[in-house]
């Protein structure tokens, strides 16, 4: 079993930071799920709730940044504590961005709810489920300190990228076949793009978890490697 810090107020500061991150992660996950169902169920009210919740995420970002700066200045954290603070600073930024993307999706949901449906939403729904699952798995890997799960998640993001390409082509075909659907099609393409970006943020979260657990920076490993070759 892991030992606690001898200084209990430090232990409590770190625990409270961790709780704050998890609460924000939970809220962002919920916002994302609601934003996706607001699109597929054409539910403008649900979309408005997502937009309202964003203020809480923004506030949490500021609070968590402040707590991290206080810990850095007053505690000079080291080793896994230092990596945890580094993770917290980046994780809250990614979570806040996911919140913003959920808001963007919700704003499109409000617009689309007033229009007739655009063909099938099945693939968007599937992509939404995959993206939500990716975010959930990243948070679970953080909770469990599971670097292997985080690494798997990084690889699974490729499937989302592929699905995005498929959806893009589907929407394009629909717009060519039905020019009256172009405006709705563009909205939906944006939604798919934002979902794909959420997947990228989930990958960021997973890479940070690997760094926290392993002490090793795995960001851009493939890309940097190919550039150096």
């Amino acid at each position: 079993m892991d030992k606690s810090h001898t200084d209990r107020s430090y232990e409590s500061q770190l625990s409270s930071l961790r709780r704050g991150l998890l609460q924000t992660a939970g809220r962002v996950e919920q916002m994302l799920e609601s934003a996706i169902s607001a699109i597929t169920e054409r539910d403008a009210q649900k979309a408005r709730e997502v937009i309202a919740n964003d203020a809480l995420v923004n506030r949490a970002e500021i609070e968590i940044d402040q707590v991290c700066l206080q810990i850095l200045a007053r505690r000079q954290p080291m080793a896994s504590d230092l990596r945890f603070i580094s993770l917290a600073l980046k994780m809250i930024t990614d979570l806040e961005r996911i919140g913003d993307l959920a808001v963007n999706i919700s704003e499109r949901a409000i617009d689309l709810a007033t229009e007739p449906p655009f063909g099938s939403y099945a693939e968007i729904e599937r992509m939404g489920e995959m993206v939500c699952q990716l975010v959930r798995r990243a948070v679970e890997a953080f909770v469990a300190g599971d670097a292997a799960a985080a690494r798997q998640l990084v690889e699974d993001d490729d499937a989302i990228d592929q699905l995005y390409t498929d959806i893009f082509r589907y929407i394009l075909r629909e717009m060519i076949a039905h020019p009256d659907r172009i405006e709705r099609g563009i909205h939906l393409q944006s939604v798919a793009k934002w979902l794909e970006r959420v997947g990228d943020h989930a990958v960021n979260l997973a890479e940070q978890v690997i760094f926290m657990v392993k002490g090793r920076d795995v960001r851009h490993e493939g890309k940097l490697g190919s550039r150096e070759e």
Partner: protein
Amino acid sequence: MSRPRKPTIELPPVVSFPDDQTKVRARGLNAWFGDKQVLFDVSIDVPSQGVTAIIGPSGCGKSTFVRCVNRMHELVESARLSGEVSLDGESVYGADVDPVLLRRRVGMVFQKPNPFPTMSIRDNVLAGLKLTKTLDKSTAEQNVEQALSQAALWNEVRDRLDEPGGSLSGGQQQRLCIARALAVQPDVLLMDEPCSALDPIATAHIEDLLHTLKEHYTIVIVTHNMQQAARVSDMTAFFLSGELIEFSPTSETFTAPRHQRTEEYITGKFG
């Protein structure tokens, strides 16, 4: 939901160096005070280049280790040791090694500044040199200026070299002790908690000095202050209960330590 924190980095916790990069080498070093063993089978290669910090809780053997390097350990009546310590590949415990000459090559600065209080600043610097050779006046003056300059004290005392060492501030006294140690042109400078009695400004002066001195000397600094070890050293050794637990590059020790016990110590988890 306990925070995941066990480092799983699978690297050997004690780094070693090849012969040509090692200044001080210990192998299987054990040390005792009477019946109490204080060092257990310590093997370490202190590299020639850079600053090596030794950290660990009180009583972990860090000061004893450095005192074994310049044979000060044996000055305590009940003390003894076994194992090997070498300097540039030659045993410091060889039958033909004169401990006094060894201590010229391996200088030491202590926790509390200990200049000779009534002796002049000039004579303090020359005290070590005068033990082993006679100096003419101009050589002596050159040595004084050089040592005080290296210790970043020259500009502050050049006009008061005849004043007593005890008239200086604590930080200046410690730099005077460093100048005294440097005057004999050692290979290695051992510093046993050199800043623990100093204020933050005097500490910053000493730390700044270390960055310059490490270009010319092998420096080993024992410190309780982990932030200081992180700031000034290139390699960090962590001792616990007389054992060397980890010896790794400082850039890794404080961000991703290799040993679980190092992790617990530097993050403040004891007991």
